[in-house]
């Protein structure tokens, strides 16, 4: 196979890979930013960066964490560029209401609203674990935290979410 054909095939494979991962990456970016439009921009820009750097991805099995890291960095860059000062969570919730209320199940919508209100340091590891399927060690590596710190954040994230959703938390351990 000549180089041109090989390159074409590699690009096609890369496109297919990005396409298959894109929904979860968009969801991750949405929960990171809590802003659908911003999430789409961040993922779009990240895909371009990934496309240009695709030769550095040596193992396709590692594509998901590789892309996710690019998204986190791109989001941080966007955040710096736009210099967001404060975030009004109620405004964010109102803005994203069509997305948050996209399902008919009210109990799921309640969790989404509670997720929007969860502090960043708790929301991000939780999304990595629940949505992206990361292990505690992988979250620790991605967020550059110790394993106990990740476990504490995950624990607190669920406590806060459950309390916000009216779950019985009386049996939860005291910190």
């Amino acid at each position: 196979m000549n180089d041109a054909a090989g390159g074409k095939q590699r690009r096609a494979r890369f496109q297919a890979l990005c396409q298959s991962l894109r929904p979860d990456l968009l969801r991750f970016a949405f929960w990171l930013s809590r802003d659908r439009a911003l999430a789409e921009d961040v993922v779009q820009e990240s895909m371009l960066r990934a496309w240009k750097a695709q030769d550095t991805l040596l193992d396709e099995a590692a594509a998901k964490p590789w892309l996710l890291t690019i998204i986190r960095r791109e989001y941080a860059r966007t955040f710096e560029r736009k210099r967001f000062q404060t975030v009004d969570v109620d405004e964010l919730i109102a803005k994203e209401e069509p997305l948050l209320a996209a399902v008919e199940e009210q109990d799921v919508n309640d969790v989404r609203v509670a997720m929007m209100k969860l502090p960043d340091e708790y929301r991000e590891p939780l999304v990595l674990q629940v949505l992206m399927g990361y292990s505690t060690a992988e979250i620790a590596r991605e967020l550059e935290l110790s394993t106990p710190a990740v476990l504490t954040r995950l624990h607190r994230a669920r406590r806060q979410l459950r309390a916000a959703c009216g779950e019985d938390t009386s049996q939860d351990p005291q910190e």
Binding site: C18, D41, R49, W51, L99, R159, L161, C165
Partner: protein, 235 residues
């Protein structure tokens, strides 16, 4: 035996943890078993909550042409280069998505200037339609629906095709905005119109509008998808 508090803290951090010590405690302790079951129910809600619906248009990759015949390699790379430039513009601080509300408002305002466009139902003669479309380098597939209005209109400094297509959902206005690059889908409802502006990588964007505020966001998105699919870019 592991303490209850230790067990509960561990499963709160990871309800699916299957470690031997946790499993042994769960099997021996009815209270902690009930606690875990309650937690797993909540976890199911949490998993569903995180799976927010992603708009179909967002599936378009920035480096990918989404329809029609495969373009020549050179053009594909030009599209990629355009995307890269777009990205560079963003990095440079030019936030190109900012004008979108203005663009939507301009599209709606343009409707007011051509009220007759909605009234026609007969097909525009093919040569006339081809003439309107030629500068934008596109044609419509035969199954696009009857084009009952076609005009080359002045819009924000450019001549753009303004079409009305008779679809099974009713008449739909389509404006092909090859000079207007947008980064993401923008839906709008204004002055009795419901519409959407969708990015077309390498070809700017298209605006799709219907009359009537009762039209759902999902419906206009589906109509825009059909319109988008019926366009064949020739250049």
């Amino acid at each position: 035996m592991m303490e209850h508090a230790h067990y509960r803290a561990a499963v709160l951090a990871n309800p699916h943890d299957t470690g031997a010590e946790l499993r042994a405690h769960r099997e021996a302790c009815a209270e902690c078993r009930a606690f875990t079951e309650q937690l797993l129910k909540f976890e199911s809600r949490l998993e569903r909550a995180m799976r927010v619906t992603i708009p179909s248009k967002a599936d378009v990759l920035p480096f990918e042409r989404k329809r029609g015949n495969a373009p020549p390699a050179a053009r594909r790379w030009m599209a990629l280069a355009a995307s890269v430039l777009l990205g560079a513009a963003i990095v440079g601080g030019v936030w190109l998505s900012v004008p979108q509300p203005t663009l939507a408002a301009a599209v709606v305002a343009h409707m007011a200037g051509e009220p007759d466009a909605w009234q026609r139902t007969e097909a525009v003669p093919q040569p006339e339609l081809a003439d309107v479309l030629k500068d934008s380098k596109l044609r419509l597939k035969p199954d696009a629906g009857i084009v009952s209005y076609a005009s080359s209109c002045s819009f924000r400094g450019y001549r753009v095709p303004h079409l009305v297509v008779q679809t099974s959902s009713g008449p739909v206005t389509v404006m092909v905005l090859v000079h207007e690059s947008v980064l993401h889908v923008t839906q709008f409802a204004s002055e009795g119109y419901r519409g959407t502006i969708v990015p077309v990588p390498g070809h700017g964007s298209i605006a799709v509008l219907m009359r009537g505020s009762g039209i759902g966001a999902g419906e206009i998105e589906r109509i825009a998808d059909r319109v988008d699919d019926s366009i064949v870019w020739t250049g």
